[in-house]
């Protein structure tokens, strides 16, 4: 998501000064998301974040501060395998146990709350019904407003955000089905906001704790598209004939380093994204056919001539199937 900080300089400056406008004064979805995004990127906070999904619970310690205009962030796992990500601006370090292989999600580690927030567009209102309930409960002992985005059709999930009345910081995020049931939850169970955080707070808890057997890797954050070559929409070899309403094509890339090459098309409605991969079928390449659920994400695979089509998205199964069944080569 593009930083709202860059788009809303005056609001950002007020928040930094501790004089942010009252959250109650905000009355549009853009206002609500702007407050949340500014807060999550600019405030000092330290807390324990719980991610409940698909019957599993992951727990992370998240520490964040803006120091001299640079975001500092440390994310450390609290259960399961020990792992840590420390970020300073666009540079970050990942620490993992030496005895494990590289986590495949290495580059997507970080504060999950940042990824949960959308880049708001007015068109979202055509496919999601926004409901805002001020001062509607508490999360981690702090009063929250609740913003619900209910899906207007069966092709997408809904979302529910609960954010801090005082600061606008999002404290709880839920992916919900059409009945309002939670499919995935990310929430703080404990948080301190605006408390002083010195450099020590951003030092590794794993390597400083006297525990041995960790490997630290330093990386610059890659930009989108590092692993593919972008091509224009008109150059796409494939298209989707029955795209659910509201989804539009955002990027087409070619990935020559995948066996047989692959074309990757990304569709989004502003919240959910769907990826379509069309790859020349290769005997030595893993393939799938039919539907597969990966927690709240779903995938659908199908053969189309000499191509293997794979559709992935954090959308209902019916959506990836519909897209996958209507992929057609372009003339």
């Amino acid at each position: 998501m593009r930083s709202v900080v860059s788009r809303c300089g005056p609001i950002f400056a007020l928040v930094l000064a501790g004089l942010g406008p009252s959250i109650e004064a905000a009355d549009t979805p853009l206002d609500w998301f702007t407050h949340m995004d500014d807060a999550v990127r600019s405030l000092n906070y330290r807390g324990d974040l719980i991610h409940a999904h698909d019957g599993d619970v992951d727990s992370l310690e998240v520490v964040h501060a803006l120091r001299d205009g640079v975001e500092h962030e440390r994310v450390t796992t609290l259960n399961g395998a020990a792992q840590e990500s420390i970020r300073r601006g666009d540079e970050f370090e990942v620490t993992t146990p030496r005895s494990t292989a590289l986590p495949p999600d290495l580059l997507t580690m970080g504060n999950p709350l940042v990824a949960m927030l959308p880049e708001y567009r007015d068109v979202l209102a055509e496919h999601y019904e926004f409901r805002h309930r001020p001062d509607s409960g508490q999360v981690a002992g702090r009063r929250v407003h609740t913003l619900t985005m209910a899906a207007r059709d069966e092709f997408r999930y809904g979302y529910r955000f609960q954010y801090d009345v005082e600061t606008g910081l999002p404290l709880k995020y839920e992916l919900i089905d059409r009945a309002g049931r939670s499919l995935e939850t990310v929430m703080f169970s404990r948080i301190e906001v605006n408390s002083p955080l010195d450099a020590e707070a951003f030092r590794s808890r794993l390597t400083q704790s006297g525990r041995e057997g960790f490997r630290t890797i330093r990386l610059a954050r890659p930009s989108a598209g590092d692993s593919g070559v972008a091509v224009s929409e008109s150059e796409a070899r494939f298209g989707v004939e029955r795209l659910p309403a509201g989804f539009y094509l955002t990027v087409v890339t070619r990935h020559d380093n995948m066996p047989g090459g692959a074309e990757h098309l990304v569709y989004t409605d502003g919240m959910a994204s769907i990826s379509v991969f069309a790859e020349q079928h290769a005997q030595k390449r893993e393939t799938m056919s039919g539907l597969l659920s990966m927690g709240v994400a779903n995938a659908f695979g199908v053969r189309l001539g000499e191509y293997q089509i794979t559709v992935i998205g954090e959308v209902p199964a019916a959506t990836v199937e519909r897209v996958g069944q209507s992929i057609k080569p372009r003339p």
């Binding site: 399961g80 395998a81 495949p104 990757h264 990826s275 005997q283 893993e286 597969l292 990966m294």
Partner: protein
């Protein structure tokens, strides 16, 4: 992929690669799905040889298991005089060991689910693992019904591992990434057997 890269991946996993080379290798791993597949396979070999895949071994055809064991023994034998008995698994890059280890996952993934005996082809999933040697890997025949849980509610994350490359690419471009944080051993979540949940046997899954 060259032997040099293979050796670098092997050394990296064994933590025998110098820092500068490690960082360079990580960058390549992040952008090269084929290299990640290789790294994941080497990890599986290591797990198998360390015995941490005992649950998977229960599901494994004896002949395939013998192939793993024989390969491990034969690979270790020439150096037995000057190497510890439990040598770093990442050096065991023989094709037989790799193929057998990949077969562990393939066979496990394709085990019929006794709780779902009547699934039709339409609502089941077929996953075949790529193989360096194909003789012990099930064919890519999607016509036969397979006992994997249909969506929604599929609990076998190991099957989803076949999609890791796609998920990584999706996450680079998606508005909101498919969030699967801190997931180690992406390819090694055994199928459920007789009342024991996969979750309870995921020894290092956070």
């Amino acid at each position: 992929m060259t032997d040099k890269i293979d050796a670098q991946i092997s050394a990296f996993i064994d933590d025998e690669l110098i820092t500068e080379e490690s960082e360079l290798l990580v960058r390549r791993l992040c952008s090269d799905p084929a290299m990640r597949q290789t790294a994941a396979r080497y990890t599986m070999i290591g797990d198998a040889l360390r015995g941490s895949l005992d649950a998977v071994r229960l599901d494994l055809n004896n002949a395939v298991m013998d192939a793993i064991d024989e390969n491990a023994e034969s690979s270790a034998a020439p150096d037995s005089a000057d190497q510890p008995a439990a040598r770093p698994w990442g050096r065991l890059l023989g094709g037989g060991a790799i193929a057998a280890a990949v077969a562990v996952v393939a066979i496990t993934a394709l085990q019929p689910d006794p709780a779902k005996p009547g699934l039709s082809t339409a609502d089941t999933l077929s996953v075949t693992a790529g193989a360096i040697s194909g003789e012990v890997v099930p064919s890519n025949d999607t016509s036969q019904p397979l006992g994997l849980t249909p969506t929604p509610g599929l609990r076998r994350a190991g099957n989803a591992a076949a999609l890791d490359d796609y998920v990584l690419l999706h996450n680079q471009y998606a508005q909101r990434p498919v969030h699967r944080p801190v997931r180690f051993r992406a390819l090694v979540v055994p199928a459920e057997v007789e009342g024991e949940s996969a979750t309870s046997r995921r020894t290092s899954k956070p």
